[in-house]
């Protein structure tokens, strides 16, 4: 019997109950992907869209992201919501280093992806947060709509379920 697409494994019905056949790695990844705690981190207007995604209308807790943490030590995913300037880069690096493994990174919006509108003729902006920390999922937009961020979060969940890190 198939227990649904989301759970990795199958149940074999037997007398007096059933036997679940699965792989431990896959169960761990399944559990991880459905309980990703984001770090409270926003450096510009993308953060407003991120807050909107967390709010009642888009409500990312439907997918397991509800517990936004104010400390990197308790967070699983950092959403880089905004421009990273040269002065902020070491802070971002430190926050990432303080997060416990396994940890994931979403680069939200044009600034975090490539520097975006600040790519040319700027003295202070990092041209892509991936110069500082490794990024799992990139989101296009300036700023991206909440739907786009939700899509990125679900893409990250799928990546984790596939065993990616």
């Amino acid at each position: 019997m198939d227990v649904g697409k989301s759970f990795p494994g199958e149940v074999h019905p037997t007398a007096g109950g059933g036997i679940l056949v699965t792989k431990l790695d896959e169960v761990i990844n399944w559990a991880r992907s459905n309980s990703l705690w984001p770090l409270v981190f926003g450096t510009s207007c993308c953060a407003i869209e991120m807050m909107s995604t967390a709010g009642a209308k888009y409500d990312w807790s439907r997918f397991g992201f509800e517990v936004a943490r104010a400390t990197p030590r308790q967070a699983d995913v950092i959403i880089i919501a905004g421009t990273i300037v040269n002065k902020m880069a070491p802070v971002l690096k430190r926050l990432y280093d303080q997060m416990a493994d396994p940890k994931y990174v979403i680069a939200m919006g044009a600034c975090a992806t490539s520097g975006g509108p600040f790519f040319y003729n700027t003295y202070s902006v990092v041209k892509g947060a991936d110069h500082v920390i490794p990024v799992d999922v990139y989101v296009a937009g300036c700023p991206p709509r909440p739907e786009a961020l939700l899509h990125a979060l679900i893409t990250l969940q799928e990546k984790i379920k596939r065993g990616g890190s």
Binding site: N86, K87, F119, Y120, N121, T122, Y123, S124, K127
Partner: protein
């Protein structure tokens, strides 16, 4: 005071002042040397009572710098814009941090990004840029070959 009254009053205070027309607020252009005395008078005069400096701006016109001070009075509800033209090679003007405390940070910002020197400022150092930064990033002739990709 309305715009015309302010204009008359300022004409008495600084005879050399020039007025700019067409703006929303009374705009006076003064010699930077006169700024310290005028600022103190604007703040302390009972009829003027400009107790709130809400904006300090430095503009790079390539040939010169223009300092722009936006003042208002929370008592009389009138506005005044004071401009002072500074030399491009060595922009120096007296600080007003002792008259309006808010100017301390505003002037640090103008110093940090435009390189305007404020004499007698209590704490004139970098605000946004790192302490070891060289150059004035918001100047028109600023160039940074290391960090900047030119378009």
């Amino acid at each position: 005071m309305n715009k015309e009254e302010l204009k008359l009053r300022l004409g008495e205070m600084v005879p050399s002042a020039a007025f700019e027309e067409g703006g929303e607020w009374t705009t006076v252009v003064i010699d930077p040397v006169a700024w310290g005395g005028l600022a103190r008078e604007l703040r302390s005069d009972e009829g003027l009572d400009f107790d709130y400096l809400f904006c300090v701006t430095a503009v790079d016109w390539k040939t010169h710098f223009m300092m722009v001070y936006h003042l208002t009075s929370t008592v009389h509800r009138h506005m005044l814009v004071v401009k002072a033209k500074l030399d491009h090679s060595s922009p120096v003007i007296r600080t007003v941090a002792d008259i309006w405390r808010t100017a301390e940070f505003h002037e640090r910002e103008a110093y940090d990004l435009m390189g305007v020197e404020f004499t007698d400022h209590p704490d004139l150092r970098r605000l946004f840029m790192t302490d070891e930064w060289v150059g004035w990033p918001l100047r028109k002739d600023y160039d940074d070959p290391v960090n900047m990709i030119k378009l």
